[in-house]
């Protein structure tokens, strides 16, 4: 790569670099110093800086976009924004890679061959929008508006939610519920009468002990939480980490509990046993605020650490010692609620067990535990009310089920697309910002459902796999090129943030608000989108909410009044349950015929020669949506399958121990085979499971960089266990064997 210069060229280049300075160089003693040392200024500071908020993940941090000569040069954290505090995670800093990704969707596309063959023709926007409107009209006429479903992820989905409501369907689901945080919301809601939402109202910063159960905070980069975690560690907080894998957080923990996968409830029950047995729980708090303590006490009486040892593989001493540390910090002892909690199908009960443990520690409503939050009230933009009252969503089976789900199940909408399975059939899909081939388990089922549809359209920025299965693909511009709705956060420090267009949309992409508004007009629903453009809409909403528009535009965020968030600040703990108390024993679950107190049921064992497949996050990536981003993939180009060192010596078909970088395929219990993936042989994981970072193994030919990198855990998730309480799809129930890629 290195370029060779002749001496003459060298001097010429030097002279060019320094201009007139070279002329007076006679005083210099050697010609190498003809020019002064010149240090380049990369000139990436913006001549214009536009505040907006991030959409590379769902955390929505405030960013400052630097624009120089019409190009975004860099993104930095907005110091005024309570979620970023001037700092960004790698994805936020690398968001510009999404904007300038050469593989972006650039023109509207209409399918020209069989569905799924991924062959399209480019069309203009009128043709594409007319086609979508025509199909949506046909669905409305033939089956009623409820036969249309929206799958959505991210802020921009709100425009399409508005469109759906105007159209007359309440079938609006996000995989972020039934494939992610849903069980946690249900479990905490059953116990405390309130779900956690996002960002979670937890006080990591002031916790003196933080317990992570399967959460790998630090690898999942929820910016504010990681900022608080680091501050807490620095302030002397101790960590207890329960994880089959020695995570980054485990590396900082006082106690790492390398638990056998699927046995967390047993550990939680044993911890409760010790907490009650040794009277280390918060007696006064429980007496004042909780119901069902006696039932709980009796329930855990025989769940000793010795019992749990046989199930979890964790030494009784480790269980006792870690619990004593956890208890010693109460009430500032935070049982982190986790986020991606769809593991084994009994996940609501595990979340219940975590909530009960948090209650015994007296940490709910207390500093360093679970705190309160508030939101600035911003009235909705007023539009004419619709006369159509939509039928309830079709996301539950005909026979009913999932009684405690409080959001629409994306997997349920998929199921309802298989004719005759739900109260009525779903016949059309709009897919916004979520690659359903990776975000829903068992892609085969997704494909089957799609084959039954009359119509499917995808709105996205990148040609993810789901685009290939669509009839129409509408290229949205990225978050840096558009306005989205105001973000009024439910947070300890309430605030409203604005997303605004930093640079005009590239290619022939359009903002979501424009797409939704244009579709509405074509569907005769224009009255529901009465504003001229998103900026007019935003300004009217902001002013109706009493916000200073100019300030919002200039600083990107307006803070609300912070009110007390915990008992130490004068806010008495309050609970939204029917009893207005913490329900250790859940009367509601009893009525539903479910376990009113969490029970441990042993998970299925891996068959001989197979490993349980676990998945998680890289701090550099958000699901599969960033794996084509040049800036980010340079730091994490592909996932690797983690396998324990000792276990790696006993894999058949290699004739030797596996070593780092060996290419293998993972084959699951149903014969699903992954793409070739590199092996990471490590002491950092138990021998009965293997681990993949989620979001790799793309097959879309349009993803030039991501295609063919690593293995897709989604492809291997042909099985899932549905949570009978809320419909979450437990996905850690698949087993894989390791096959020689060459062999």
């Amino acid at each position: 790569m290195s370029k060779k210069y002749t001496r003459r060229e060298f001097i010429k280049i030097s002279a060019l670099g320094t201009g007139a300075l070279a002329v007076g160089s006679g005083l210099m003693t050697d010609w190498w110093s003809l020019d002064r040392p010149s240090i380049e200024d990369p000139k990436t500071d913006g001549d214009r800086i536009v505040p907006t908020f991030c959409e590379v993940c769902f955390w929505k941090c405030g960013v400052l976009a630097h624009v120089r000569n019409g190009r975004i040069t860099k993104l930095t954290g907005n110091p005024n924004h309570p979620l970023s505090n001037g700092k960004l995670c790698p994805r936020g800093a690398g968001g510009v890679g999404m904007l300038y990704d050469p593989d972006r969707l650039k023109k509207p596309l209409i399918r020209s061959k069989k569905r799924g063959e991924d062959v399209f023709v480019e069309v203009d926007w009128n043709t594409a929008l007319d086609k979508v409107a025509h199909e949506l009209k046909a669905i409305r006429q033939k089956y009623g508006p409820e036969a249309l479903a929206l799958f959505s992820h991210g802020c921009g989905g709100s425009w399409f939610t508005q469109l759906m409501k105007a159209y007359g369907s309440s079938n609006i689901g996000a995989p972020s519920y039934a494939q992610c945080r849903g069980p946690r919301e249900a479990g905490y809601s059953l116990t405390f009468g309130q779900s956690l939402g996002s960002p979670e109202s937890i006080d990591i910063a002031h916790a003196r002990c933080i317990t992570l159960i399967g959460s790998h905070l630090g690898e999942n980069m929820h910016n504010t939480q990681v900022q608080e975690l680091a501050a807490a560690i620095d302030a002397g907080a101790q960590l207890v980490v329960v994880d089959p894998r020695f995570s980054v957080a485990a590396g900082k923990a006082r106690y790492w509990l390398p638990i056998k996968p699927g046995t967390d409830i047993a550990l939680l029950l044993a911890w409760m046993n010790v907490l009650i047995e040794e009277k280390r729980y918060d007696v006064d708090y429980i007496r004042e605020h909780a119901t069902g303590f006696d039932e709980l006490k009796a329930h855990v009486a025989d769940k000793t650490p010795e019992w749990a040892f046989g199930v979890t593989g964790l030494e009784p001493k480790l269980i006792r010692d870690s619990l004593r540390l956890i208890a010693s910090a109460r009430p500032a002892s935070l049982i982190h609620p986790g986020r991606h909690t769809t593991w084994y199908g009994d996940d609501t009960q595990r979340a219940r067990a975590m909530a009960i443990l948090a209650a015994l520690l007296g940490s709910y409503g207390r500093r360093g535990g679970y705190i309160s939050s508030s939101k600035m009230p911003i009235p909705a933009y007023s539009t004419p009310s619709s006369t159509h009252k939509p039928r309830s969503p079709a996301d539950r089976p005909k026979s009913g089920g999932f009684p405690v789900a409080d959001e629409v199940l994306a997997s349920g909408l998929r199921q309802a697309s298989i004719p005759g399975t739900a109260a009525y059939d779903i016949k059309g899909w709009l897919v916004y910002g979520t690659n359903l081939m990776q975000s829903l388990p068992n892609p085969k089922e997704t494909i089957e459902a799609i084959q039954h549809l009359d119509f499917i359209a995808t709105i996205d920025t990148m040609p993810a796999e789901i685009c290939g299965w669509s009839d129409v693909v509408l290229p949205e511009c990225t978050y840096l090129e558009r306005e989205d709705d105001l973000y009024s956060a439910q947070y300890q420090q309430p605030f409203v943030a604005i997303r605004q267009e930093v640079v005009p949309p590239l290619h022939d992409s359009k903002p979501g608000w424009w797409i939704a508004k244009e579709l509405a007009a074509r569907l005769g629903l224009g009255a529901q989108f009465p504003w001229h453009d998103a900026r007019v809409y935003l300004r009217k909403r902001a002013e109706a909410g009493g916000l200073d528009w100019t300030r919002l535009e200039k600083s990107g965020v307006v803070l609300g009044k912070r009110t007390p968030v915990c008992e130490e600040e004068g806010l008495k703990p309050a609970f939204g349950t029917e009893s207005r108390k913490i329900e250790l024993f859940s009367a509601e679950l009893k009525t539903l015929g479910a376990d009113p107190l969490p029970n441990f049921y042993p998970p299925e064992e891996p068959p001989p020669g197979m490993f349980r497949l676990l998945s998680g996050r890289s701090p550099v990536h958000t699901f599969g949506r960033t794996t084509n981003n040049q800036l980010l993939l340079e730091s994490f180009p592909e996932n690797e399958v983690w396998i324990n060192t000792a276990a790696s010596k006993a894999i058949s078909g290699f004739g030797r121990a596996l070593k780092n970088g060996d290419k293998v395929r993972l084959v699951n219990q149903d014969g699903a085979r992954s793409m070739p993936v590199k092996v990471k042989v490590t002491e950092r994981i138990r021998g009965d499971c293997v681990y993949l970072v989620h979001g790799f193994g793309h097959t879309s030919k349009g993803l030039g960089r991501a295609n063919g990198r690593g293995a897709s855990d989604s492809e291997l998730t042909t099985r899932y266990k549905t949570d009978p309480l809320m419909g979450g799809t437990g996905m850690n129930v698949n087993f894989v064997r390791i096959e020689n890629h060459e062999g």
């Binding site: 290195s2 670099g17 040392p37 954290g77 700092k87 510009v96 975690l229 390398p258």
Partner: protein
């Protein structure tokens, strides 16, 4: 500079922010993250470090540079004058920290502690972005600076203390 291994989660925000701040060529980086694990399952320990040029006080790269492109600049920062660099790679061989690389345009490139920023009083981009505030930048000569305070308060080490280069990036352990 100090780098707190207890705070750092190895997220790579420093690496990405450096790429955009310094408009680095595709596929190159001036800083990187190292994760070191010791022990056998389940008795393990781990250290995570964000690493870059150590801006050594006795920089072997400068000694080895035949064209004086590598030099100690203002405030002791080790810099490469692009217009003097021939890309001979002698410095790359001499650097004990593997902190240098050849830019696609032929010259050798490395971390400058964001000299264009720090000379105006701003922080290096990696320090500014760091969500865990593991990175701190300041004047080691000034006893009242945060970095000096941290070095007095915390156990610390440098990489390759045997190199004789007198590195100026300290890892708090």
């Amino acid at each position: 500079m100090t780098m707190d291994t207890r705070r750092c989660v190895g997220c790579n925000a420093c690496v990405i922010a450096c790429k955009t701040e310094n408009a680095l060529a595709e596929g190159t980086s001036r800083d990187w993250v190292i994760t070191e694990t010791a022990g056998t399952f389940p008795s393990l320990s781990q250290e995570i470090r964000s690493e870059r040029c150590n801006q050594c006080s006795r920089p072997p790269c400068v000694d080895s540079c035949p064209t004086r492109a590598s030099h100690i600049g203002e405030a002791g920062v080790v810099l490469v004058s692009r217009n003097k660099c021939t890309g001979c790679k002698a410095c790359i061989g001499a650097c004990p920290y593997n902190a240098r690389y050849v830019h696609p345009d032929g010259f050798v490139d490395k971390c400058t502690f964001c000299f264009h920023r720090t000379k105006t009083g701003a922080l290096p981009a990696c320090v500014e972005v760091c969500p865990t505030q593991a990175l701190k930048f300041g004047d080691l000569e000034d006893a009242t600076s945060e970095v000096s305070r941290l070095l007095r308060a915390r156990r610390h080490k440098v990489n390759r203390p045997d190199s004789g280069a007198k590195p100026n990036v300290y890892f708090l352990i």
